[in-house]
Symmetry: C2
């Protein structure tokens, strides 16, 4: 039994007759090529950044390198056993490449702008992605009915809508960081793109299960309920793992010098533990590892010895850079190697139109809703909405889900969806990725902080206009109450953190930690008093 | 086409009917278990070390944890899709777990004792492993002919001899480091176990190809020639990659502060590049990455910025610790899960006897040979020979090759070899690993440096007796000439390094670098003058 399983599980069984030696040689060549492309991407990205050439961001460059080398390999009849190393495996992506990227997002996040925009982010990510998926699905279905494009069953249209609504954080955010932009806009774009990945996966899987059990038709509320359940469950498990790690490092006494390696080993294992725990429980690993990242940065990190702090920060940065760059190379190579059904150009063309419309429906309606509940001094301005609409480029998440749909759907359908997604990914990464800098400048949301450390510009004056209290009061009494409640809850969380969480989970007291972001808090205090 | 290949390449195809969601859930549970075992191993290892309990070293503890959890999983009818994550894949081992372990060996190596014992190490690793393989093979064959044990064809006996001659560096060396021992003995044990892995793989593969093309009988000299070719080729490619990296970091100007991440990314990719380059060329990745490690530490490392130096040292330490611990857990779990043919207990019993005899033939004959060519003050004393004989525990390399033999050999034969190897691995890791401390103390080769940094004890007085020049002279004129030549070559390499290599490949000059190991060199100077 184990033999047969193992034979099946061979990583490169494409050449079952060949000896293990030649298989390993093929693996060597394949991985060698990948490493060379990685090195090339890093060097090219560095050169482009140095010359402030923002039309080809690192992600686009990596994608192009992958496409080029893949194209060359396609022409030059490479051996199948080497090619096997370049096929994009969704499982590899979901289990090994995605976790470090998302963890680093949470770990490097400055929590204040994220949490002060939490309501808006959740609205965009949950309601907005839901709207976008439905709008895309319905439009694609109608397009099929009207013979404008290849016709798909309604459930499959919704699956396509779900997978294509997953926006990619990597490229846009790296440019945002490079150029420096308003912290609230950054938090919105970042938060939305991370959380909507989770929503898109969840929606996709729900649709997929609806498709396979057509009898048990679930209604939309059940879908939303299931998503919320997953979301809250994942968040709790992530936060729980984070707090556990904080307590472990507080009491284990590992922060002495010769135990640095042990300390780092354990620290490095926790995020992955959180991801796998959530996946094992059938929840969303992405959401879980994101919150673990936030909690570990806020509490566990300060329990480490100083050397280990430096090390783990650099470690996660390194690992996530490698994973990010590799994802785009891997995707580019796979796109060049796969066979596509280009017969449905109409499908691609209209899909691109429709996702633009769907994202507009998402962003502008959700922004309208959010602005209804926000005081006048915290309204999301139109140019931020436009920037948010424009930032919706599709990346590895959509690609991985589309690849899954090839297995999940009948022959021609999955292939069509996959080809369309591929085209959309390449176009949006190259075009939107390349023009984000120009767009940000045109919308005048480029900040003055060019050093990549955005945390200082939080509530800077380049984004929202900060009107006086009187203006805010004019928008009615009900809103004022809500605003007060909101501020109370924020304040009470801060108080909870200061008085209970930080002393309980860390060895430091709050005041020490405060030193880092004093300017922010200073301003926060002032505006508080002002109101 | 890609679909079919991809279907085959699914990481867990054991459950092809299940949806991707449940597969991913199974993967989550599997990986979660692995992470928990890793954490447990680290914590247990730490506790045992703290209490100076040397009878259960970390590797043995990891193996036991793997065995226990595997046994429990076996009893409790775990799902096949979860089990699939625990099967030991040789490719995964060779391509992802082994490289960091070997690189770290080279990277953390203090090159002087290694190179001053290079002749002896090569003799033990190449000639010695060859002798041990042949002796084991012949004895097993004779045992089969005399109906003492399960009979195998002669070539298969030689394959078994080759794979079982690969000794494992992990456990013994960690105890050596913990207890502190003579630097020359450490260099011998370390060098032999790393290089003999390469020899064993090479011999195994050669035998395997002899078996599959029985017509083209190669003689032993061709085998040796091919091995030497592989060895020299791998060494050159490793050294070449190392020097290339040194030049890159010298001239790229990456050692400024905000490029630390780029610098580290590139540095981290080079070792893996070296490994895959050698594998891709059909050479030995292990040998290549070992020499890349040595060269990168000596030249490239000093071209890094100070922060990056700290980071990469900690990074490789971390990665190799994780890989080492994981290998033993993985092996333990797989051993508990696999089906074994325990019907051939005689085979196991006599194999254990025979490998003891074979290792004695290896160590004592090679030591005799080495001592013939060494001056009296550098003879390998008998107690070092005994320690070397005792240190030959079998680990992951033998296990991985045995697992390969299950595919390479006919049904019952491969299974018998695999079971015997498994038993030998478990017994030697637990017994020899647990008793190494006692053995080292009994042989009185335990040093006085308990801090794990052995480099200081090089040519300390606890190992070789350092007789005066007169004693050395009594061993004849021929030897004296050879000794002089040897010293000239060592001296000329040092001069080459000081005058050409270091200035060419690094930004530092030699004198600065010297500071670290001045005591060593001081002593070296003295003994030089003394002679």
């Amino acid at each position: 039994m184990p033999d047969s399983v193992m034979e099946e599980l061979q990583i490169s069984p494409a050449n079952p007759a060949g000896s293990h030696g030649t298989e390993q040689q093929a693996a060597g060549v394949g991985i060698l090529l990948q490493i060379m492309m990685l090195v090339l991407s890093f060097v090219l990205g560095h050169v482009l950044r140095r010359h402030k050439f923002y039309y080809l961001p690192e992600a686009s460059a990596s994608l192009l390198i992958g496409l080029t080398v893949g194209g060359l390999a396609n022409i030059s009849n490479t051996e199948t056993s080497i090619r096997a190393w370049f096929n994009f495996h969704e499982e590899f992506f979901f289990l090994f490449l995605l976790p470090p990227i998302i963890f680093q997002s949470g770990f490097s996040l400055s929590p204040k702008p994220f949490f002060s925009n939490f309501g808006a982010i959740v609205t965009f990510a949950i309601l907005g992605t839901f709207i976008a998926s439905i709008v895309t699905g319905v439009l694609v279905y109608l397009g099929g009915v009207m013979f404008l494009m290849y016709g798909l069953p309604f459930v499959e249209c919704l699956m396509f809508g779900a997978l294509i609504s997953a926006t990619d954080p990597v490229t846009v955010l790296s440019i945002f960081q490079e150029l420096g932009t308003d912290m609230n806009l950054y938090a919105l774009v970042f938060g939305e793109s991370v959380l909507n990945d989770a929503m898109a996966i969840s929606l996709y899987r729900t649709m997929s299960s609806v498709k396979s059990h057509v009898s048990s038709r679930q209604n939309f509320f059940l879908v939303i309920l299931r998503f919320l359940e997953t979301f809250v469950g994942s968040m709790s498990s992530g936060v729980g793992v984070g707090f556990t790690s904080a307590l472990l490092f507080k009491y284990a006494g590992l922060d002495i010098d010769n135990l640095q390696n042990l300390e780092c080993c354990l620290f490095v294992l926790f995020p992955y533990f959180s991801y796998m725990l959530a996946e094992g429980l059938g929840l969303s690993g992405i959401v879980s590892i994101l919150f673990t990242g936030i909690v570990m940065k806020h509490y566990t990190f300060s329990n480490l010895s100083e050397n280990s702090q430096q090390f783990v920060a650099a470690f996660f940065h390194l690992i996530s850079s490698l994973a990010e760059t590799f994802v785009f190379i891997y995707m580019g190579f796979d796109i060049a190697m796969e066979q596509h059904s280009w017969s449905h150009v109409g499908f691609i063309f209209f899909s691109i139109l429709f996702i633009g419309v769907a994202r507009a429906a998402n962003v502008f309606s959700c922004a309208y809703l959010v602005n209804l509940f926000r005081p006048a001094n915290r309204q999301i301005p139109l140019r931020h909405q436009k920037a948010l609409w424009y930032s919706g480029l599709r990346g590895a998440m959509a690609f991985a889900l589309a690849l899954q749909s090839v297995h999940d759907l009948p022959e021609g359908h999955g292939q069509t969806i996959f080809t369309a997604t591929t085209a959309i990914v390449v176009l949006t990464v190259l075009l939107i990725g390349g023009s984000t800098g120009t767009m940000l400048e045109a919308l005048q949301v480029v900040g003055d902080c060019h050093d990549g450390h955005l945390s200082e510009s939080f509530e800077g004056n380049n984004g929202y206009i900060a009107p006086s209290y009187e203006e805010g009061a004019s928008s009615g009494n009900g809103l004022k109450m809500k605003l007060k409640e909101f501020h109370k809850s924020t304040a009470s969380f801060t108080a909870l953190d200061r008085n209970y969480l930080t002393p309980f989970f860390t060895t430091q007291n709050w005041d020490e930690e405060e030193d880092d972001d004093e300017p922010e808090d200073g301003r926060g205090e002032v505006s508080h008093r002002h109101r």
